[in-house]
Amino acid sequence: MRDGWARLGRIFDGRQAEIVGLAAVLVLVLVAFGVTTPRFLTLGTFQSMAFQLPELGLLTLAMLIPILSGGLNLAVTFSANICALVLAWTLQTFGGPDAGVFAFALGVGLALLTGFVIGTVMGLIVAFLGAHPILVSLSMMIFLRGVGELITRGGDISGFPAFVTTLGHGTVAAIPVPLIIFVIVAFAVHIVLTRTRLGFATHMLGSNIEATRYSGINTKLSLTLVYSLSGVIAAVAGIIMLSRFNSVRIGHGEAYLLITVLACFLGGVDPFGGFGRTVSVVLALIILQAISSGLNLMGANQHLATGLWGAFLIAVMVVRWGLGRWRAARASAASASPRAPPKNQTTKETAR
């Protein structure tokens, strides 16, 4: 039994602690809903979760990379919708409902390019002018919102070819297409962050940009690319939202903005930058989605779900604090191996 505890302790001490902890919470949430709501543990529930998760998920990944670099991108949702507008505009130019696959591919390309440009502009300002990312992205958010409202006159843009909905509602081997896209993007982000020079630089400069520069890393270029990448991922989110709702509105997903920040923190990302893992953030997203879907099935008010997300995040912070103390106590107990007093070889020589 003691052995078991020790092993459990090691799991919670190791590098995988965050992931093990989040997985445990996920299982707990699933079991809780499974017991209280009979219809919860069915294929249908999981499929509907799998359709809803990618929107928030992609926006969260777009938020994750700037946070790791010690910044923030508050323009993710509006970037996504502006990119979707570019796609919608391309489709309408090529005949609206009659537009072909080529027009769609062109539109997607232009949307991704738009995301890249928006991100790069923010990145250049943050990196070269040294402006604070919150101010830069907040200004960009307000700018994009204004432009978007102006173009759409605050309304919905719709009338797309039928095949667009396949992207948002189709399945491949019972797996929703949006989920497949999300998994591909998440994997790519994971590889970029853990195995490339950009990812390495992102973590380092997130902790200390000057020391990173002194080490010979091109911090300005890296910081710019962080926001470029964030913009491109936001564009992917915009394309998915367009195909899910079959329309574009500049305010789509606006409520997700702060949830993306919280999902990062729930996934153990350091709010001050430098530390965080994609896998943990994805697990955190699944937990949030499970809570939301479960409450929905129970017939609870959607606002209650939002409130519970908040309560849940506060609870996680308290538990993390407790675990941190527990670990510190264990660490000092481990180093408490009794030590013999040092042999006093020098005779106590005193001048007195």
Partner: protein
């Protein structure tokens, strides 16, 4: 001072503070073993010991932050005290000036000095006039002048030190602890500070001085209490004590202060600068460093040494002049070009520039050589990375738990080895070391210079910048003296006395 006289003076001055049998353990780690300590009115005593020897723990016990284990005895003015808390310690008149000074940068000089008079149950409303009056009184007592209404952040570091002393004085202390008060001061500022300390002692305040700079320790104090590994080695008269003896007592090891200079004048030139000038920083600097040569660059703080290094490392551009590396003229757009060309720079500020403290030892070592650990498809190859990191940890004998631990978990000496490792991995031709031993223990310092000598033996050119004259005197082949941005003298340790070099620099 002979023993007899010393006994007399000690008898003439009543003891303020006595500690007997102080032991303290933290979670099983014994920080102090049965340590006695005492200090008399108006005495200046120095607490010496390496990092981790128990100095801070002892101060924290005296100030009531930690409680000693077992049956320790603390007597204040001959009266035995029960439990000591930070509040009672302050009431008794025990004050500490920590190395970071703990001032409020946005508040004015007067507000900082009079801070404690205006806390909690004291006057409900802050009165600006009262602040100024308290501050002025304390400054007058020291015979010093400071702008009372200037925010502390606008002051030079030496002036901030004075503000911290004044704040302590405003509370009418009996015992004053000063933790590394001169760490960032120049020689002239240090002398001024030491004068202030003597003045305090004449007023009957007992001053306990903690410093890594042994020369200063011996100059200011009457008595040195040496701690090592949590035990007290002994109390020693400063009179007749040498730096070398003190180092031996602190480390338990013997170091020979030996001039290591060798003659390298026929080796090929690695770096040559020609009339290098950057206005307001340095002027007309023409120097050469040869293969395997250790060139010392000394001078007072602000002489332009670090600024020159910044240009050689590609961080700034010179206004005039040029420099060449291995015979090729260099022009760097950024420090990446300098690193590529074979120049490494160990900055003075290890905490915020030398290393990315929160990140891992492994990542810090590979940061300048990412290109070398790229595998297929432009992705980092973990195997190559681990091998590279392992190689340098072994080669420089860095004491680490795991390579994935944060750099901040290491001691100063081991952190400096990580900095060396990361630059050695780039295989530089020229290594610039800017004050490489700041905040590093005496023992670890010797080890770092041993590494540096090994590198020079292997043919690397080294530029050692330091304002500690013994450091450059004993460890370099040639010493350049920089003053107000210009090279004003060249010395060869084998042909010059250290005192002559000291006199020239501090003239």
């Amino acid at each position: 001072m002979s023993d007899a006289i010393r006994l007399q003076t000690a008898a003439a001055r009543p003891l303020v503070l006595q500690l007997k049998g102080i032991s303290k353990s933290f979670g099983g780690v014994q920080a102090l073993w049965d340590v006695d300590f005492e200090i008399a009115e108006g005495e200046i005593c120095c607490l010496a010991g390496e990092n981790g020897s128990g100095k801070s723990t002892l101060i924290k016990i005296i100030t009531g932050v930690h409680r000693p284990d077992g049956d320790a005895e603390i007597l204040f003015g001959g009266r035995r005290l029960g439990a000591l808390t930070p509040v009672t310690a302050r009431q008794l008149g025990v004050q500490v000036i920590w190395q970071d000074l703990s001032l409020f940068p946005h508040l004015t000089v007067a507000e900082n000095i009079a801070f404690e008079q205006n806390l909690g149950h004291r006057p409900r409303w802050a009165r600006r006039g009262a602040f100024r009056a308290v501050a002025q009184r304390v400054l007058d007592r020291l015979g010093l002048r400071l702008p009372l209404d200037t925010p502390v952040m606008d002051l030079a570091i030496a002036q901030r030190q004075v503000v911290a002393i004044c704040r302590a004085l405003a509370t009418d202390p009996k015992v004053l602890f000063m933790d590394e008060p001169t760490a960032s001061l120049t020689k002239a500022e240090t002398d001024a500070l030491l004068d202030v300390v003597r003045k305090l002692a004449r007023d009957g305040i007992a001053v306990v001085f903690v410093s890594h700079r042994l020369a200063e320790v011996l100059e200011i104090s009457e008595r040195v209490t040496v701690l090592r590994d949590g035990t007290k080695v002994g109390d020693f008269d400063s009179e007749g004590m040498t730096q070398r003896r003190l180092t031996e007592l602190m480390t338990g090891a013997t170091f020979d202060d030996e001039v290591h200079a060798r003659d390298r004048h026929d080796a090929p030139i690695v770096l040559q600068t020609d009339g290098l000038t950057r206005r307001g920083e340095y002027e007309d600097v023409s120097i050469t460093i040869r293969q395997g040569e250790v060139l010392g660059l000394t001078g007072l703080l602000g002489a332009g040494r670090t600024e020159l290094a910044a240009t050689l490392f590609g961080l700034t551009l010179p206004d005039l002049g040029s420099f060449s590396l291995g015979g090729q003229r260099m022009s760097f757009a950024s420090n990446r070009d300098a690193i590529e060309a074979g120049i490494s720079y160990v900055p003075e500020d290890r905490l915020s520039l030398g290393l990315v403290q929160p990140q891992s030892i492994a990542d810090n070592i590979v940061a300048p050589v990412l290109k070398r650990i790229m595998g297929t498809g432009g992705l980092i190859d973990r195997g190559t990375k681990d091998r590279l990191v392992g190689h340098w940890i072994d080669r420089l004998a860095i004491k680490v738990g795991k390579p994935d631990d944060a750099v901040s978990t290491l001691s100063g000496g081991n952190q400096q080895r990580v900095v060396l490792a990361k630059w050695l991995a780039t295989e530089p031709k020229l290594m610039i070391l800017d004050a490489p031993t700041v905040g590093v223990d005496v023992g670890a310092r010797a080890a770092i210079f041993e590494i540096v000598r090994g590198l020079a033996e292997a043919g690397m050119a080294i530029l050692l910048i330091s304002d500690e004259i013994p450091e450059v005197y004993f460890n370099t082949d040639r010493v350049l003296h920089m003053r107000d941005g210009r090279i004003v003298g060249e010395y060869r340790p084998r042909e010059t006395l250290m005192t002559a070099l000291e006199a020239a620099v501090h003239a």
